[in-house]
């Protein structure tokens, strides 16, 4: 994305929201979805538009797990670590994903395609262990099914 295009997209997202501090988090989440992280410019722009000090923007940007200052992959693989998933073997599914992608949990693959995270309960406990990639949910995961899931995701 060129710098100009980047700025245009940022401005477009910014103007989705009225000028009130309560939209700060929603704006930053939209930015995260678009750019896979929260760039400095986005923080500065939000401080101005939503009339909040930069210190508050930084606090919000670093408090919420949904946001990251460091770029994440194009697709984020979220391995549910909820209790039901934990009991049914989620740690082994995570290991299999780390192995297949050669990346540690919390990291991003070299080609920037995938980020891997351990996340809190996704609320699909009857299908434990659960893995979510973006908004897509994969239930009853096993170490053996990991390759298939990754192939399907690469194709998207």
């Amino acid at each position: 994305m060129s710098a100009d295009h980047h700025d245009d997209r940022l401005r477009e997202i910014l103007h989705r929201y009225p000028r009130h501090p309560r939209f700060l988090l929603a704006f930053l989440q939209d930015v995260q979805r678009e750019f896979k992280h929260v760039p400095r410019k986005a923080m500065e722009a939000s401080s101005e538009r939503f009339m909040v000090p930069m210190s508050r923007v930084y606090s919000v940007a670093t408090f919420y797990r949904a946001l990251s200052l460091v770029p994440r992959g194009r697709k984020t693989i979220k391995v549910c670590m909820g209790t039901a998933c934990h009991l049914r073997g989620a740690p082994r599914v995570l290991e299999a994903i780390e192995e297949a992608l050669q990346v540690r949990c919390g990291g991003t693959t070299r080609d920037g395609e995938f980020s891997v995270e351990a996340v809190n309960c996704l609320g699909a406990c009857a299908l434990a262990p659960v893995v979510m990639v973006e908004d897509r949910c994969y239930g009853s995961m096993t170490a053996a099914k990991v390759r298939e899931m990754l192939e399907e995701e690469r194709g998207r």
């Binding site: 797990r65 039901a84 239930g139």
Partner: protein, 620 residues
């Protein structure tokens, strides 16, 4: 098309009911669980095939989506209707679409897709034991109503309670809710009527009603299903609440991890606005009220009421000291009522049934029903709604079908990270707001995780403490520093580094943490540790003093041993052993040698349950 009065609403409802019903219909579950199983493709295939075979007029056939049935393990679920009867199909695949439709057109059923339990086969959802023993009031419409269609909600009686409530004075509504005994379903169990009354009598330039949809307890998905499957029931409750306390604005705070709930609620709000059920002068009354969605940012602590409010304000989700209640000074320092989404969904039911009707279910101090999320090592997992006072045994064994596989029941964890584990001896406890608390656990928001003898209670405590450590906002020292300290000791106990005095230290830190933490997260954080210490002390002692994990979970803290009498020499264990430690011995049976490192892989594959965890140094 605005509904400007209760009469308008009734006329509209009658109009909808007079619409010609299709002769045959299918309802595909589009909840998160079934979607994960491919129900979207099933739906598309059904629509496509229906068109192909000529079932395409609205009189002849209709295909709809519904929300979560709360039986996700059996999904994708499809309900078919014909001539007044229904049939439930489970684990439906796209390829089954044509067969289903042909059977439907012929008034037949597809036998292989029916739900089976042992030898019994069930056609209708309501006869399945899992459902038959439930009392679905809050979840009544989940799985039936199309969550994206307000007309469907209205045709099933929706918003009639709102019209009724608006004809009452705010004080009358509060009185009704108070006498019905509604208590918060999010875990706190605070009397809703009392909360509303405090807010009503507080003064401020404006008032807010909030819905807590930040369901963060791992293992719980009651709120997800409700928000996805019947969003209007929550809205209706909130509008009634706004009328009662005098609020002009509301927010529904939905967890970031529930995108479908966000979508369905957003859509429902839009539809409600279109019909004039939100906005100015609702149904012609004096009430002007509107609702917006706030999406969480991935923070469990935002389920705490003051942290939730901070998050809505566009701040970090840090709780505040609450000696002055939110009903007095809450969101932006204004009087605010916050209730869980399940609590809000109870409100239209109370208006409809009245005090006696509502109180006919449940117990004196815990009236009504409660939705539980029954998961873990249980045969039938899913959402269970029963009257309060139902026992743990009834829920786990009668509805849930008991422990899955050949394993034995060991414990049930209730209340999420704020709750605790209860052993077999406590199974006859009635589940309500107060009874479980006396035993060191709590009902909480409804999470109910069943554990068998392959679950290590020290590992469970460790799991919850590490979870909370990661979710702590860090504001107060007891939680920020204390959980780190407790987590360190528990990690040591689970990796053969336990020391004498660890158990005592966990106990004293746990109690001190409960006393000193600033918010509910910290104040209840020690419960998983304290409850397992109370009911499973021997396991802690074994971990600390012998370096032994009897459940065979904590790596290196046991060795596998073959119970020769049970061994059938299949060799499955030898195949999975990563250390090549299992071989046939002279008798022909298998045995584990000193190369065993205690990883647990063999324990789960043995079809006879012949492999057992043993203390290291104890050989056959």
């Amino acid at each position: 098309m605005r509904l400007s009065s209760p009469e308008d609403l009734e006329l509209y409802r009658e109009q909808l009911l007079r619409r010609v019903k299709p002769q045959r219909w299918v309802r595909v579950c589009a909840g998160t669980g079934c979607l994960a199983g491919g129900s979207q493709r099933v739906y598309e295939a059904l629509v496509e095939e229906a068109r192909r075979i000529g079932l395409d007029s609205p009189v002849k056939f209709q295909a709809r989506c519904s929300g979560c049935h709360g039986f996700c393990e059996e999904g994708p679920l499809v309900v078919c209707g014909m001539r007044g009867s229904e049939v439930l199909y489970r684990k439906v695949r796209r390829e089954d679409a044509l067969e289903i439709l042909l059977a439907l057109a012929d008034d037949r059923v597809v036998e292989r897709l029916l739900y089976r339990d042992g030898r019994e086969v069930y056609r209708e959802e309501r006869h399945i034991p899992f459902y038959a023993l439930q009392m679905r009031k809050v979840l009544e419409r989940c799985g039936k109503v199309d969550p994206r269609d307000v007309d469907h909600y209205i045709s099933l009686g929706g918003y009639a309670s709102l019209a009724r409530a608006l004809s009452m004075s705010p004080e009358e509504v509060i009185d009704l809710v108070t006498r019905a005994g509604l208590r918060g379903r999010g875990g706190g169990g605070f009397p809703a009527g009392q909360k509303w009354a405090s807010c009503r009598s507080a003064s401020g330039p404006q008032k807010f009603v909030l819905a807590n949809g930040d369901e963060g307890d791992p293992g719980a998905f009651m709120d997800r299903s409700l928000m996805e499957g019947d969003p209007h029931s929550i809205l209706e409750g909130m509008i009634i609440g706004a009328h009662a306390v005098g609020a002009s604005k509301g927010f529904i705070y939905v967890r970031d991890e529930y995108p479908l709930a966000v979508e369905n609620l957003t859509h429902a709000i839009r539809e409600a606005r279109r019909l004039g059920l939100l906005g100015r002068r609702i149904l012609g009354s004096d009430l002007s009220f509107d609702v917006d969605i706030c999406r969480g940012g991935g923070a469990f602590v935002c389920g705490e009421s003051s942290a939730l409010m901070a998050s809505i304000e566009g701040r970090p989700g840090e709780p505040r000291v609450k000696y002055i209640r939110s009903t007095e000074r809450g969101l932006w320092e204004c009087p605010t009522v916050l209730n869980n989404v399940e609590t809000w969904a109870n409100v239209p039911i109370i208006i409809r049934e009245g005090v006696e009707g509502y109180r006919s279910l449940g117990t004196k101090d815990s009236p009504g029903t409660k939705v539980f999320s029954l998961v873990g090592k249980v045969r039938r997992s899913g959402l269970v709604e029963v009257p309060m006072g139902t026992t743990l045994r009834e829920i786990i064994f009668e509805i849930g079908g008991g422990v899955m596989g050949r394993n034995r029941f060991k414990a049930v964890q209730t209340g999420g990270p704020s709750g605790g584990c209860l052993p077999e001896s406590k199974l006859d406890l009635p589940v309500d707001f107060d009874r479980l608390t006396r035993e060191g656990s709590m009902m909480g928001s409804g999470g109910m995780i069943v554990m068998d003898h392959r679950s290590c209670m020290v590992d469970v405590a460790r799991y919850f403490v590490k979870f909370l450590e990661g979710e702590s906002c860090g504001k107060c020292a007891p939680c920020r520093e204390g959980l780190k300290a407790m987590g360190e000791i528990l990690e040591d106990l689970c990796s053969r580094r336990g020391r004498p005095g660890d158990v005592e230290m966990l106990l004293s830190m746990g109690n001190a943490l409960t006393d000193t933490a600033l918010c509910g997260l910290g104040q209840t954080a020690a419960n998983p540790v304290l409850s397992t210490l109370r009911h499973f002390m021997e396991e802690y002692r074994e971990h600390q003093d012998q370096g032994f994990c009897r459940a065979g979970v904590c790596r290196g803290m046991f060795v596998a041993r073959v119970e020769a009498d049970l061994c059938v020499s299949c060799g499955a264990c030898a195949k999975v052993c990563p250390f090549d430690a299992i071989h046939r011995d002279p008798s022909g049976k298998f045995a584990v040698d000193q190369r065993c490192e205690g990883c647990g892989a063999c324990l789960d594959v043995c079809p006879m349950g012949a492999l057992l965890p043993s203390p290291r140094g104890v050989r056959e």
